[in-house]
C-alpha cells in the first residue's frame, strides 16, 4: 500500500496534519519520520526515527521509504521561529531537505510536499501589492532564517528536474496565527508593550491554522503543482492588529531600531534578529489566486479572525 510520510511531526503543523490524516485514512496509511515519536494518543501510527542532519541520512531514508512503501512525503520540519543556533537550523532546513529530496528521488517517491513561508519573498518597499508565485524568492536576504528556506526549496526543485518521477509542491504559507500557535510572532502579540518602527503601517497576512491544514490536504489530493501561496481571505494593517490586541506601541525610528533589535537578539532577550524589522516596515503580501485555481482552496478565515482566534486562546479572561 502507498503510505504518506510526514517529517517534523513534532511541529505544530506537522502534528496537526498527522492527526488529520490518521483520522481520515487510518493509522496504517501514515508514517511519522521525526527524531521524536508521535504522541501516545495516536496509537498505531508507524514511526521511524531519522535525523535529517546526519551525513548518510539520505541512504537511511531510501531504506525507510522502500520498506514502508511511501509514495508521498510531506516535509514540515522547518523552524517558524528564528533560532540563535543558526548552524543547526541550516543543517536541518537546507541540508536536511537536500537529504530528504535525494532519498525520496532514489526511493521512487511520487510527490514531495514542502512547507514554506510567504516571508521568503522578502519585505521590500518596491514589492507589488500582491506577490505572485512567479516572483523570485529573496535568496540574498540578510536573514539566515529566510535563506535556509529558499535553499531548501531550491534543493527540492533541482531534484525534481533531474528525476522527473518526483513531483514537488511548495506551499508558501502566510504567517500562522491562531489558537495553539506558538511562534516568535505570537509571542510578540502576547506582550503588553510592542516596539514598532516609527511611521510605518504595512499590510500583513495572518493565516488561521485550520486554513493551512485544509490547503495541505487539498494539495495532497491534487498532486504535484509547484509553488503555491496559501493566504488568508483579507489582510490587516500591522498597527490595526496591534491595537485590536490592546498593545502599547512604542515607535522607534528605524535607523536606530535595526542595531537595537540586533543587540537585543544577540544578548539573548529579543524574539528575532533585526532583519525582521523589514516585515514591520514594508509589505510582503502574497496572492492566493493560484491556490484557488489549482487546489480549489479559498481560506475561510480572514487575517482578523485568525488574530481574534489567537487572542481568545491566549487571553481567555479578556474575551
Amino acid at each position: 500500500m502507498a503510505r504518506t510520510a510526514i517529517t517534523g511531526t513534532a511541529s505544530f503543523l506537522g502534528g496537526r496534519l498527522l492527526r488529520r490524516l490518521v483520522s481520515e485514512r487510518g493509522a496504517d496509511a501514515v508514517l511519522a519520520v521525526d527524531i521524536t515519536p508521535p504522541p501516545t494518543t495516536l496509537s498505531g501510527v508507524r514511526h521511524r526515527m531519522v535525523d535529517l542532519t546526519l551525513p548518510g541520512a539520505d541512504r537511511r531514508l531510501v531504506e525507510v521509504f522502500r520498506e514502508e512503501e511511501v509514495d508521498t512525503v510531506v516535509h514540515a520540519a522547518f523552524f517558524t521561529t528564528p533560532r540563535r543556533d543558526s548552524a543547526y537550523a541550516h543543517e536541518l532546513e537546507s541540508i536536511g531537505t537536500l537529504h530528504l529530496a535525494a532519498g525520496a528521488a532514489a526511493a521512487g517517491v511520487r510527490h514531495l510536499l514542502l512547507r514554506s513561508f510567504t516571508a521568503v519573498y522578502g519585505a521590500r518597499g518596491q514589492n507589488p501589492s500582491f506577490l505572485t508565485e512567479e516572483r523570485k524568492p529573496d535568496a540574498d536576504s540578510r536573514l539566515a532564517w529566510v535563506r535556509d528556506k529558499v535553499e531548501a526549496e531550491a534543493h527540492a526543485f533541482s531534484f525534481s528536474r533531474r528525476y522527473p518521477g518526483l513531483g514537488v509542491t511548495v506551499l508558501r504559507f502566510a504567517t500562522l496565527v491562531g489558537a495553539g500557535v506558538h511562534t516568535f510572532y505570537t509571542r510578540l502579540l502576547s506582550k503588553r508593550v510592542v516596539p514598532v518602527p516609527l511611521g510605518y503601517d504595512p499590510l500583513v497576512q495572518m493565516l488561521h491554522p485550520d486554513d493551512a491544514l485544509e490547503a495541505t490536504v487539498l494539495a495532497l489530493e491534487t498532486g504535484p503543482c509547484g509553488v503555491v501561496n496559501v493566504v488568508p481571505r483579507a489582510t490587516i494593517t500591522l498597527l490595526t492588529a496591534l491595537h485590536l490586541s490592546d498593545k502599547l506601541i512604542v515607535p522607534v525610528p528605524h535607523p536606530a531600531a535595526y542595531p537595537l533589535a540586533e543587540l537585543w537578539w544577540a544578548s539573548g532577550v529579543g524574539e528575532a534578529p533585526g532583519g525582521f524589522i523589514d516585515y514591520a516596515r514594508f509589505p510582503c503580501v502574497a496572492d492566493g489566486e493560484k491556490a484557488r485555481l489549482e487546489l480549489g482552496f479559498v481560506a475561510r478565515h480572514s487575517s482578523r479572525e485568525a488574530l481574534e482566534s489567537y487572542l481568545a486562546y491566549r487571553f481567555p479572561e479578556a474575551a
Binding site: P128, S129, L198, P202, T237, T240, L244
Partner: protein
C-alpha cells in the same frame, strides 16, 4: 448613543444600592464611573469605541494612579481608530483615513491653490483609464490634488488611485499616508491588476526626475521613464488621458539641491528653496500659487492590441507622443496664464 444613555442609570442604580455605605469622595466616585463603564462595555459584548478626547479626559482624570500599561494602550487605541478604520481594502486604502485628512486637502484645493479643473468629460465614467500627468512640487501634492479634482469635478466622483514612486513608499510617515489614501506602489504588476479591475489610475512617468526638478527647469517635461505606463496601457487596452498640471511647479521653488544631506536618511534628493531649510518648519509651507488641472483628449490604444506591448519601437513612439501632447498642453496653459498667483 441614546441606548448607552438609557443603560447607564439602570446599571448604576443596581450597584449603588449594594454599596451605599461607601464614602462619596471624588476619587471613589470616579473609580465607580470607570467600573460601571467597563461593566457596560462587557454587557454590550464589545470593547467601546471611545472618541480620543473622551479617552484622554478619562486618562487625565484618573490621575497618576490610573496610569497603567493597559490604560495607555487603550488611549493609543482610541487615537488610532479615530483616524483609521479597522479594515482597509486589498490595496491598503482606508476610507476613514481619507475622510480624516480630507478637510486639510480640501483647504489646499479650494483656498490655498484655488484649483481650476477643466476637461473632466474626457475621463471615462466607468471602466479603466490611465491619467498621465506632469510631476513637480518636491512633495507629491500634485497627485493628491489630481485625485481631488476627479473626485469633485467628474460626475461619477471616481476614486483615482495614484501610482506612487518607490522612494515615497520607503519614507516613514509618508508611505502609510499615501497607501491609506489610495496610492499604490508604481510597478507594472500593480498597474495591470488595477486596470484589469476597471479602476482609474493616475501616473507621473517623469518620476523622481520630475518631482525634484529645479526651478529653472520648471514646465520642461523630463524623460518619461522607459515607457512602462504605455506597455501596461497596451496590454490592458486602456485609454491614456493626458493631464497638465500648472501651478504645482512653483510651490517649492528649488534653487539648488544638496543631495548629500539627505543620502544618510534614504532621501533621493534634498532641495534648497528660498524658505527651506532656512525657516525651519515654516519652510515646508508651500507657496499659494494658482493651479489649473487640464484633462486632454484620451489616446485610444486598443487598435494596437496587447501584442503591441512587446514592440519597443511602438512603445517609445507612443510614450514620446504622449509627452509631446502633455508639453503642448502645459505650454498652452502657461501662455494663457497672466500671473503665477492669480492665474
Amino acid at each position: 448613543m441614546s441606548a448607552q444613555a438609557k443603560v447607564v442609570p439602570i446599571a448604576g442604580r443596581r450597584r449603588r444600592s449594594k454599596r451605599r455605605a461607601e464614602p462619596a469622595g471624588d476619587t471613589a466616585l470616579r473609580r465607580r464611573v470607570g467600573e460601571l463603564e467597563d461593566e457596560l462595555s462587557e454587557l454590550r459584548g464589545s470593547k467601546p469605541a471611545e472618541s480620543p478626547l473622551v479617552a484622554l479626559a478619562r486618562a487625565l482624570s484618573s490621575g497618576a494612579g490610573g496610569l497603567t500599561w493597559a490604560s495607555l494602550a487603550r488611549l493609543q487605541r482610541a487615537f488610532y481608530f479615530a483616524w483609521h478604520s479597522e479594515q482597509t481594502d486589498d490595496f491598503g486604502a482606508d476610507a476613514r483615513f481619507a475622510e480624516t485628512l480630507e478637510p486639510f486637502f480640501e483647504f489646499l484645493y479650494a483656498v490655498w491653490w484655488r484649483v481650476e479643473a477643466t476637461g473632466t468629460e474626457h475621463l471615462p465614467a466607468s471602466g479603466p483609464g490611465l491619467v498621465v500627468g506632469n510631476h513637480s512640487g518636491v512633495l507629491p501634492y500634485d497627485g493628491l490634488m489630481l485625485q481631488l479634482a476627479i473626485r469633485h469635478e467628474h460626475p461619477a466622483r471616481r476614486l483615482c488611485r495614484m501610482l506612487a514612486l518607490d522612494m515615497f513608499a520607503l519614507l516613514p510617515v509618508l508611505a502609510p499616508m499615501l497607501s491609506k489614501s489610495g496610492s499604490v506602489r508604481a510597478n507594472p504588476e500593480n498597474a495591470e491588476r488595477l486596470l484589469r479591475q476597471g479602476e482609474l489610475l493616475g501616473v507621473f512617468p517623469e518620476g523622481v526626475k520630475g518631482v525634484g526638478k529645479l526651478f529653472r527647469e520648471r514646465y520642461k517635461l523630463a524623460r518619461f521613464g522607459r515607457g512602462g505606463f504605455v506597455r501596461v496601457a497596451l496590454r490592458t487596452g486602456t485609454p491614456i488621458i493626458p493631464c497638465a498640471i500648472v501651478g504645482a511647479e512653483e510651490i517649492h521653488p528649488v534653487i539648488a539641491k544638496a543631495d548629500w544631506v539627505g543620502r544618510p536618511f534614504g532621501l533621493p534628493y534634498f532641495p534648497l528653496t528660498p524658505t527651506f531649510p532656512w525657516l525651519g518648519p515654516l519652510g515646508v509651507v508651500p507657496l499659494p500659487t494658482k493651479w489649473s488641472i487640464d484633462f486632454g483628449e484620451p489616446v485610444d490604444l486598443s487598435g494596437y492590441g496587447p501584442e503591441g506591448a512587446e514592440d519597443p519601437i511602438l512603445v517609445n513612439r507612443i510614450s514620446e507622443s504622449v509627452r509631446e501632447t502633455l508639453q503642448r498642453m502645459v505650454d498652452g496653459r502657461l501662455a494663457r496664464r497672466r500671473s503665477v498667483w492669480f492665474g
